[in-house]
């Protein structure tokens, strides 16, 4: 290709992906993107992974992005291909995952004509993308792709959609990739205000009962090391949101585990009693705060976030710092005038820890999710990449898996998308080769993107596919028992569930099942020893268990239900 040679939009597309160092595209072909697939056939610098449903492509891109820190990429056709991506895009938007989704579009002259497989995907995804583009001219293609990657991966990350009309991909122009990029309406603030940081350091150093409240922003900005240094040097206890788990080692004495609705008793008591709360890359969402009016009322609140809209949105804070947590933490550590004396406070937290540990019934010989998760945590020493779905098993994993590393906890938090785990674990398995990747789903959610088993098998991905089968839409059943008069309306899956063993086998996956706690060890050993293909284990657990502690939706920490009052058994 010479500098003045004109090439097609399709060729430009791949030249751009090469410049962006894209390794994998998760995609599914169709009429509007045939020209791209024609060129893809001969492309060797990246690998295209054929999923079995476009939702799977987006979740896989998310899993890849979350595990690697790079931008995940999906490519789909127009119309139904594009609309199938909507849930995944909304998911990435809620959890700030950097992905770029390329959608085919009908030819420019047909747009608006209700043409075959036309959908206004730019209109549809406007409220669920960080930004989106319809490319109207092949001359804009390269710069638009450059901008898409830039916007997706900088500031508070998020999904970007690029809609590519068929004629744009087919027309030709000279390829030129802009090295520099400058979007005048988009200037993220990375460095925090020094005076504010200095003030924060003073407040923290004088605190008697300080608490770090850590969210996904710490992981995304790659500041786990800074966090470790800051917390340890100043003896500050750390509690994490669902997305924050992994930011700080779960086994460290300063870690209080997760806070919020299903957080630990001691983390929530600490939030309620702290005198200085330092929020790092978290957004005070309702699953964390419960009733805002009673959330952490007496503490001085410091909020560090790269997104100004996160500040004062749900909870009004005393000291906002807009900036990248990485920069701010480093500066904060350097500015600390003295180390606060927190020994009494840490003792108090330990008393709470002993008062109400995470307990579960384990003497009756029946299999329980908590036990399975504890075993997985032990066997993998907190080093695995755990990809959960949505529901009770997700909360039990958050409580009992002791994540040691950032980017090892991949879950759908903000949107709570059932069916996330299996495709996301596929994306993660492409990013992570040296650690086990474990997908954990409920029997409900597993069936929502079950088709991606094919993708895992075809690509020989060594994913451990664990199904926690409680024969119920467990989390909904829990709410029905607690808040809806025990009307188990349409949540009993038992009678209609398929035979998961046979399903696994039909897809060509070595599959196991157990309901015996004593078999868990050997089955896990077996699964962890398989490294060249997927393996499936169905854990048949008790039906009636509930996740505790629980602060009901919109309630206060004082309303926390610590354990079940009258255990019952559902056969």
């Amino acid at each position: 290709m010479t500098a003045s040679e004109k090439i097609s939009g399709a060729e430009i597309f791949f030249e751009c992906l090469k410049k962006e160092k894209v390794e994998y595209i998760f995609g599914y072909p169709g009429g509007a993107v045939l020209k791209l697939y024609e060129h893809l056939y001969d492309v060797d610098f990246l690998k295209h992974i054929l999923v079995r449903h476009e939702q799977g492509a987006v979740h896989a891109a998310e899993g890849y992005a979350k595990a690697s820190g790079k931008v995940g990429v999906a490519l789909v056709t127009s119309g139904p291909g594009a609309t199938n991506t909507v849930t995944g895009i909304a998911d990435a938007y809620m959890d700030s995952v950097p992905i770029v989704v390329f959608t085919g579009q009908v030819s420019s002259h047909l747009i608006g004509n209700d043409a075959f497989q036309e959908a206004d995907i730019v209109g549809i995804t406007r409220p669920i993308t960080k930004h989106n583009f319809l490319v109207r001219d092949v001359k804009e293609l390269a710069y638009t792709i450059r901008k898409a990657f830039y916007i997706a991966s900088t500031g508070r990350p998020g999904p970007v959609v690029v809609d590519l009309p068929k004629d744009v991909i087919a027309s030709k122009c000279v390829f030129e990739y802009p090295e520099e990029i400058d979007v005048r309406g988009y200037k993220p603030t990375y460095k925090g205000n020094s005076n504010q940081i200095k003030k924060a350091a003073e407040v923290i150093s004088k605190a008697k009962r300080p608490l770090l409240y850590v969210g996904g922003g710490v992981i995304m900005s790659g500041s786990s090391e800074e966090l470790k240094i800051f917390a340890r040097e100043n003896k500050l206890p750390v509690t994490m949101t669902l997305q924050g788990l992994g930011a700080y080692p779960g086994t460290d004495p300063l870690s209080l585990g997760m806070l919020g609705m299903h957080g630990t008793y001691w983390a929530n008591r600490a939030v309620d009693n702290c005198d200085v709360l330092v929020s790092l890359g978290a957004r005070f969402d309702d699953r964390v705060t419960g009733k805002v009016e009673t959330f952490c009322t007496s503490a001085f609140k410091i909020h560090v976030d790269i997104d100004p809209t996160a500040i004062d949105k749900n909870v009004v804070v005393d000291l906002p710092i807009v900036g990248d947590v990485k920069h701010v933490l480093a500066e904060l550590a350097a500015e600390m005038p003295s180390v606060p004396d927190t020994s009494e406070w840490l003792d108090k937290i330990n008393d709470w820890r002993e008062e109400c540990p995470l307990e579960y019934e384990n003497k009756d010989g029946r299999l329980r999710t908590e036990f399975v998760i504890e075993k997985i945590s032990e066997k993998t020493k907190g080093e695995a990449v755990i990809v959960t779905d949505v529901g009770q098993h997700q909360m039990w994993t958050a409580q009992h898996y002791k994540y040691n590393n950032p980017r090892s906890n991949i879950t759908s938090g903000g949107l709570g998308t059932m069916g996330f785990s299996l495709p996301a674990s596929i994306g993660a398995a492409f990013a992570v080769k040296d650690k086990p990747v474990i997908s954990i789903s409920g029997d409900g959610g597993f069936q929502m993107n079950i088709q991606e088993l094919t993708t895992a098998v075809y690509n020989k991905l060594p994913i451990k596919i664990f199904i926690i089968n409680n024969s119920f839409l467990g989390m909904v059943r829990q709410w029905q028992e607690l808040f809806h008069k025990e009307k188990y309306s349409f949540t009993d899956l038992g009678p209609s569930n398929p035979d998961f063993l046979k399903i696994g086998e039909a897809f060509g996956i070595e599959s196991f099942a157990t309901s015996n706690p004593q078999e868990v060890d050997s089955l896990l050993d077996r699964a962890l020893s398989i490294n060249d293909r997927p393996v499936l284990i169905e854990f048949r657990v008790v039906k009636e268990d509930m996740v505790f502690p629980m602060i009901p939706s919109g309630a206060s920490i004082s309303d926390m239900m610590v354990k079940r009052l009258n255990p019952k058994r559902m056969i």
């Binding site: 730019v122 406007r126 001359k139 710069y143 122009c173 520099e180 005048r184 309406g185 100004p308 009004v316």
Partner: protein, 170 residues
């Protein structure tokens, strides 16, 4: 409280929709909205009148800033500024009232832009409360139709600085 917010946006496909979608998606109110060209070809100015307490207005401004296509967001209500609106008011003319209507028109420094033997259309420009007053006074004759442009506004004094775009596309 009502706030008038001036937003400079890229004059680009979908930019207006983004702002409107943000308002509806977040449940913010739009009392009036106007959009038009500026001295710079690729930039449009939207003037939005919204309503809410301080916390809501703070979010409105932040959320507007967060949109990639917005270049500058100014809450005019917090700074010295001018606001103007244009209204076309079509009034009935009962027998013998034309002189009186013309008098009111003169007081408001309006223009008569259309006239038939049954109605006259008056154009009035000014701050929104002046328009309200004009409509109020003219209502005794019977108002047939009103079209208001929505408010446009500018900060008093110095101009807003805007970064020039480098042309990166070939």
């Amino acid at each position: 409280m009502k706030h008038t917010i001036s937003v400079l946006v890229e004059n680009r496909f979908g930019a207006f929709d983004r702002v409107a979608t943000m308002f509806s998606g977040k449940g913010f109110n739009i009392r009036s909205i106007s959009i038009g060209e500026t001295e710079i070809e690729e930039i449009s100015r939207m003037t939005i009148v919204t309503e809410g307490d301080d916390k809501i207005i703070d979010q409105v401004v932040k959320q507007l800033n967060r949109l990639i296509d917005t270049i500058k967001v100014v809450d005019l209500t917090l700074t010295p500024h001018v606001e103007r609106e244009l209204a076309l008011i079509k009034v009935s003319v009962p027998k013998g009232t034309l002189e009186e209507i013309k008098n009111i028109n003169d007081i408001f420094r309006g223009n008569v832009v259309d006239i038939t033997h049954r109605s006259v259309t008056i154009e009035v420009t000014g701050p929104p409360d002046k328009i309200d007053a004009a409509i109020n006074l003219l209502s005794q004759f019977g108002i047939k139709e009103v079209a208001r442009s929505g408010i446009v506004g500018l900060k008093r004094g110095e101009q807003t600085k805007i970064q020039k775009v480098k042309t990166l596309t070939t």
